[in-house]
Symmetry: C2
Subunit: 96 residues, 2 copies
């Protein structure tokens, strides 16, 4: 049981971060506003949790210009995908 | 997606609380020290998270005397069982 708890990833405890990861697992990339709408989050809250996931290198972003306006696209990194699947598996294992 | 996030239960975000609930789902009841050993938690941390779950009426306890020493047994309540299963289901649904 101790080991199973250790397999849970603190980066994904937070509800919104679970949501961001899930959204990026099933979409190649999403821009800030799409993520915001999808998750029903505020700007500040979303930005702060994206930053946490970037620091862990679980999420990366690229900037491009769309009709002269900057547009930031977020994606999950391979490390993020692996870590997130491990976390979900750990939750599933808790009851076993 | 917003609805799916709403189905996640804040009471179970914390890792140790996930562990307490899981342990009590698969054991009829556990006393404080068994929970502590099982989860590798400190006294203070375990007591504080048990209290949070008691306030939500997800965990209940009964005191008895064992060789003249007080012994507190914790169990999951029917409401706790239902709420926890709903939370796990919500996590599972996030990726769908």
């Amino acid at each position: 049981m101790k080991q199973k708890l250790k397999d849970l990833n603190k980066a994904f405890e937070n509800k919104l971060r679970l949501g961001i990861m899930s959204a990026l697992m099933v979409n190649d990339h999403l821009d800030f506003n799409s993520l915001k709408d999808l998750l029903g989050a505020t700007d500040g809250n979303l930005a702060s949790h994206l930053k946490t996931l970037e620091k862990e290198a679980y999420v990366s972003y690229s900037k491009e210009f769309l009709e002269r306006k900057p547009n930031t696209k977020y994606s999950v990194t391979p490390a993020g995908r692996q870590a997130f699947l491990k976390h979900l598996k750990a939750i599933e294992n808790l009851l076993k």
